[in-house]
Symmetry: C2
Subunit: 238 residues, 2 copies
DNA sequence: ACAAAAACTTCACGGCGTATAGTCTCCTCA
DNA sequence: TGAGGAGACTATACGCCGTGAAGTTTTTGT
């Protein structure tokens, strides 16, 4: 046999079972929150014993990690696709497409959003490697690209700020920065701020803190995007 | 006896035990996350049986609810105090004081922040009444006051926005709005946006999503405040 | 056909929330 | 003063949970 073989019957069954475990876990999470992901519940749903899952995932945390990786990657795919699909010549449209894709995905996958950005599980500690850091990097890159697209317009507005950019220059964004050589530290800080803005509004909405104020969160988000584009000095139609 | 009596020895002991349960719970949460709040662990720490706690709190969720209420109230107290302490004549300083108090409290009580704004517990559902909605209302009121203080400066900037404020007018902020009759719907939307911005940056920081980019979050937050004051059209020294 | 490997089950342990029933201590009032 | 009762707490038990060890069945490669 061999781990490299891709056509073996055993490998196929194994992959299918693995996929089913993850599918059932995601579906349990969707219906009962991240805490509903219990090995016993998954096994019950699949007509197995809880311990059988240990043949596929070393521990429950491993399963959760895998789910986070996949969900995170799906989010990164979504926003990247929205970005790529919008015409490159119109920064305002691109930025709005990215942001709307972010919020749209979060609303469509609230449990996934909590899994990525919240406290996913009792005592869960994120491991070092894996796909999640990659996905996080892709999200940050998207945000940086967003600021990069806006920077020609926004630069003069931010030049007026009295902030000490030199203090910011060192090790600001370990991995993302080199991908945008034309974006100065001030621009990266702008990117992170925009990320924070969008994350905050979506997060408040997902966790129900806007609902209690009977807001129409979609309109608030649209207003955010309008003001964002304005504050970047971009012609909204551009 | 009597529920109204305040001096009874029994009542005093009871109050002390209740306070100790909450204290131990908060301390467990601080050391091991919100999930570490288990009745058995609390009882172990206190030299009691887990069931003894049922004499003080009907259920574990009741205990968590009480903790959330207290923590939430503490946060509201903190930001209100910071607001009140800053001179009323300087909107920029007041706004920054509020925001810095918010972030400062969150950093000092990260588990409390998660308890309030995150997924505090497996399957926990917030009850209707209690102090938490009050605290949430006070936070929102603080944000609205912030926008109200800035509005005289910010109004002309936001008047340029092409947004349909009339669509926003109805039921925007159920309870907070009446407290600020001079603040139009556009100002309330601004308040919520600012809230989202601050919440997003603090949330990313608390949950460790900024750390992976090796940012100095304090500086980023300060830059956020600088730009916020600027975007509101307020003289930073005012 | 047979041995190895993989998949899966059974049993067991400790921890969790919590329901029920029982015990012990202290206050109250006749 | 002493009996009754209320309140504080314990004991036991049930069904969840993750997980480890050992055993059983099924599949695979030679």
């Amino acid at each position: 046999m061999g781990v490299v073989s891709t056509g073996g019957r055993r490998e196929r069954l194994r992959a299918e079972t693995t996929a089913e475990i993850k599918r059932v876990a995601l579906q349990l999470m969707a219906s009962g929150g991240p805490d509903a992901i219990t090995l016993r519940a998954i096994a019950r749903e699949m007509g197995m014993t809880a311990n059988a899952i240990y043949g596929y995932f070393a521990t429950r945390d491993d399963l959760v990690t895998t789910l986070i990786n996949e969900v995170y990657t799906a989010l990164a795919d979504t926003v990247e696709a929205a970005w790529a699909q919008a015409p490159a010549g119109r920064p305002a449209g691109r930025i709005q497409a990215w942001a709307r894709a972010f919020r749209g995905w979060a609303l469509a996958n609230p449990e996934g959003f909590r899994l990525i950005y919240g406290d996913p599980v009792p005592g869960y500690e994120a491991p070092e490697g894996g796909a999640a850091p990659d996905a996080a990097y892709r999200i940050c890159t998207g945000i940086a690209a967003l600021a990069d697209a806006a920077w020609p317009h926004a630069e003069q507005l931010h030049a007026r700020s009295g902030f000490q950019w030199s203090d910011f220059d060192d090790g600001l964004l370990g991995k993302v920065r080199p991908a945008f050589p034309d974006l100065p530290p001030a621009g990266v800080a702008l990117a992170l701020r925009i990320w924070g803005h969008l994350h905050g509004l979506v997060s408040l909405e997902i966790y129900g803190h806007l609902r209690t104020q009977t807001v129409d969160p979609g309109k608030l988000f649209q207003e955010e995007l309008n003001q964002l584009v304005r504050s970047l000095g971009i012609d909204p139609g551009e």
